[in-house]
């Protein structure tokens, strides 16, 4: 039996099989939300490298509250140092971009209505590991950026390394671990679905 329902100005077909309603509204919601999130993820994917480059190129003209680097002396940085700093910023940016690529791939599958397939578990696993890897790249970046920004600071200190680790730095590690766990749950769901499809 087929039931026609109106959902968000769209006509929705709801199958009623052996008295059980096959709920498709939730799937429509997933598709809709994943489409929107995919746009945000795309904007971040293409926007983040550009914004980072703009940040370091226009570093001298930024308001003081945007200069979060304690190691930066109160003097303008040259364009060469700005570019070096951008190159250093690519280190933590790489896992972020890799994570965003995988997030977009996962959202793409959701958008197409395929939720429990091996590829979605793989995408989530990669996203989780990218987030977990972020803590290492952040440490590397802290070291690099302090070295780059203090190379011509004119002070008697010369080069110095600054390394700040805050509790919040461990949040991506925790979040990544949770996402990896969810990917394993999805992997189990894929196995269950395969078994379900082969149960006649």
């Amino acid at each position: 039996m087929i039931e026609l329902r109106c959902f968000d100005d769209k006509l929705l077909i709801v199958w009623i099989s052996k008295g059980k309603r096959v709920v498709t509204e939730n799937r429509v919601r997933i598709q809709k939300l994943s489409r929107r999130l995919n746009i945000v993820a795309a904007a971040l994917l293409y926007g983040l490298p550009v914004l980072t480059l703009l940040y370091w190129i226009s570093f001298n003209y930024l308001p003081e509250n945007l200069n979060v680097w304690a190691s930066v002396p109160n003097q303008p940085i040259s364009i060469q140092i700005g570019l070096q700093a951008f190159a250093a910023a690519l280190v933590p940016l790489s896992p972020v971009l890799y994570g965003l690529i995988n997030l977009r791939r996962w959202l793409g599958y959701l958008k197409d209505g395929t939720i429990f397939i091996e590829q979605t578990a793989q995408c989530l696993r990669s996203l989780g590991f990218a987030l977990m890897f972020l803590i290492i790249t952040n440490i590397i970046f802290d070291v690099l950026i302090s070295l780059i920004l203090t190379q011509d600071n004119g002070s008697h200190l010369g080069h110095y390394i600054e390394l700040d680790i805050y509790l919040s730095d461990f949040f991506p590690l925790f979040l990544g671990g949770v996402i990896v766990l969810i990917s394993r749950v999805i992997h189990e769901a894929v196995d269950l679905q395969q078994e379900q499809s082969l149960t006649i």
Binding site: K18, E195, L198, T199, I200
Partner: protein, 71 residues
């Protein structure tokens, strides 16, 4: 797999086509084909009941156990 599905034999005995059986027991032809080829992981008692009812046979006429070790 050591459980053999003799659905083909029963269909031939009853001179019935897979398509007709599929429609009468309420499964798709593709799913019935999976069952016939022995690719199914599990068979619902509900499905087995429907097959036995339509083909007028016993579950033992459709399912057969063969010990692989003895073969």
């Amino acid at each position: 797999m050591t459980i053999i599905i003799n659905l083909d034999i029963m269909l031939a005995k009853r001179k019935m086509q897979s398509k007709e059986l599929a429609s009468r027991i309420g499964v798709t032809v593709q799913n019935l084909s999976i069952l016939k080829r022995g690719k199914a992981r599990a068979v619902r008692l509900e499905t087995l009941n429907a097959i036995c009812k339509v083909l007028e046979c016993q579950p033992g006429d459709i399912l057969e156990f063969q010990d692989e070790a003895q073969d």
